[in-house]
Amino acid sequence: MSQENYPVIRILPSALAETPGDEPFAVVVRSRDELCRWLREPPSSLSWLQVEGILGDSDAWMEAAHSGSDVSLDLILADPSSEFPELYKLVDVSAVHDVRVTIQARPGLLKAVKLAAALRFPIRLLPGQPKADVLAELKQALDFYLHDPAVEAPVEFFHSWIARTQGADVGSLWMILEEDPAAYVHYDIDGQTKISPSGAVGSTEHLPAEFVEDHLKSLLEQGAECATCPWQQSCRGYFKWPDRAYSCQGIKDLFSVIQGAADEMARDLASCVLQSANPT
């Protein structure tokens, strides 16, 4: 899908979403009351609920499992190391609602990835600008995604990145991670738009629709390593935000592993097609 074809989704704090209008929007809920309020009377333009900070609240999930609506839920794990066992609380609610688990790339992310995958939840990993220890876990998570038979649902951004190498029009990494402000406009509690890759809030003077391209252009003008990066077209400077001095070497290694897996899959598929054409 080309970027211009994406519908713009506003992602609003619950308090700002009371008069949403007809355009698609998502609501960030941070309490049981907010969660239940939106599940009770979801407007037709509500695309999903982004649930933050209430994974441990058993009553909230019990009520969500009994709600009459089928609004999709995006559960944010901000501290995967301590929160991951609580993912079992989502088993009941997932019979009623589509549930995705979004995991902030912090220590312990691999545990959360493994359990979320075992519970068959789609996963979105928000890498941010990972330090060495988290990068090591991201690589382990990639290996788990690529090789473990327990993985049935997509683990983003790995999944779409591989699809992109096979020609799928999934947009840039910003788009894959739903952080391109051209399509996903995040609002803070004051109603101001914000750039929020991986939860790290950063303000920008650029218009949301032009942010990614302006950001990349600026990086290239400043001689950032993006200029010679083989994954520049897909990444578009994602890992240079908000700290432009972040070194991408570890990320490039990660992308190389994904590319290697994608190449292997392409060879296997080609071989299969060849056998189909020449069965003898």
Partner: protein
């Protein structure tokens, strides 16, 4: 309404007409009164409405359920189904019986209320299932006769076999041949034993060497794949595992659910509510409450301190045990709480059959891979 199904293992009596060595149930001559059935039905339907669940599966067990007689079941089924229908809900009924008191008088109720199929139990060789008079040999003879009569009446029969030392000594070849060829069954499953309740005193008699048990199950799996899988023989839990490893929707046994506390409860003839029949018949310390004494089943389940342990268990296992690093976590989740509790005195450990399960899962994974390769080769 959600797409969830709620199940109740309902024990209309704790009485039994046989004397199996390894039975974990505390038997006593008590029966569910017809006068209390409407109240039980109301409690269950209220709970379904509270939970926004449309269908409730009732697994009638005992004791021995057939002691209640076919007329009792006919009336019970009509009463429950009628009450459910009035509230836009429904019950689906299943019967697990030892078949010993089966007569043709049961045929109408089995074909009606139970959809023409029932579950029963038999081991190979049978050394522990016994009649009060005549022992194991007489039990086998009478059960086999009843099985034939029921099959002749067009009743589909699934059999559960509990493995014991003599099963392992006989070996998987003879075991498989007995159920498929000698009994002519196309649907049976194997269970692992556990020393629950009163049977705990026989623990040493029924504890199996885990290596030998794993070897037996893997051998049985191989035989079933070779002879039964394509021929349509259903052998649980292997068939569910093959479904899983070949990408189909799999119905795996309760021992491997994410969290059995979300899925079912058991209610005995006195209204006692616990997690499953094993708990309700053996472990009063884990009773959730009484459905006749407490007006709100939903609230009982929500507030029960005993039930909280079941809810907490899988979380504790991925945090404290090695389950998170197991490649089979998604189909096991630490195994069965009651098997763990009966063996270790706590449910906050992984199932003591862990290594056996892993061997079976690995076997299923290998066979599943071969089946998929075969399909791809055929497609190409």
């Amino acid at each position: 309404m959600s797409g969830r199904v709620f199940s109740v293992i309902l024990l209309p009596t704790s009485e039994c007409n046989v004397a199996c060595d390894y039975c974990f149930e505390h038997k006593e001559p008590h029966r569910l009164s017809s006068a209390l059935l409407p109240l039980l039905t109301k409690r269950l339907l209220d709970h379904l409405e509270n939970e926004r669940i449309e269908e409730c599966e009732i697994y009638w067990q005992g004791g021995e359920a057939m002691i209640m007689g076919p007329d009792w079941f006919r009336q019970a089924g009509e009463l429950m189904d009628s009450a459910a229908e009035k509230r836009g809900l429904r019950f689906a009924h299943f019967l697990q019986t030892n078949l010993i008191s089966y007569t043709p008088a049961w045929n109408d109720v089995i074909h009606g209320m139970f959809g023409g199929s029932i579950g029963t139990s038999m081991d190979y060789p049978n050394v522990h299932r016994k009649l009060f008079r005549g022992g194991a040999e007489a039990y086998t003879k009478l059960w086999t006769q009843r099985l034939g009569e029921a099959k002749s009446a067009g009743i589909e029969i699934g059999v559960i076999a509990v493995l014991h030392k003599a099963s392992l000594e006989a070996g998987p070849e003879d075991f498989y041949r007995y159920f498929t060829e000698e009994l002519g069954l196309g649907d049976f499953q194997v269970n692992t034993p556990f020393p629950g309740g009163p049977a705990k005193q026989h623990e040493t008699d029924f504890s199996l060497d885990l290596g030998e048990l794993a070897e037996f199950l893997v051998g049985l799996f191989d035989i079933w794949i070779e002879r039964g899988y394509k021929a349509g023989v259903s052998l649980g839990p292997f068939d569910g595992l093959i479904d899983h490893f070949t990408g189909k929707q799999a119905r795996l046994p309760c021992i491997w659910k994410e969290n059995c506390s979300n899925q079912f409860i058991s209610v005995d003839s006195k209204g006692t509510v616990a997690q499953c029949d094993c708990w309700v018949t053996s472990y009063p310390e884990y009773f959730f409450g009484n459905v006749f004494q407490e007006p709100d089943l939903t609230r009982m389940l929500k507030t029960s301190r005993a039930r909280r342990d079941f809810v907490e268990r899988p979380k504790r296992l991925v945090r404290d045990e090695d389950c998170l690093s197991c490649r089979y976590l998604s189909i096991c989740h630490g195994g069965c709480p009651v098997r763990t509790y009966s063996a270790l005195g706590t449910m906050m450990k992984k199932d003591p059959y862990c290594e056996v399960y892993k061997a079976v899962f690995a076997c299923a994974e290998a066979h599943g891979r071969e089946i998929l390769r075969g399909r791809i080769a055929t497609a190409v």
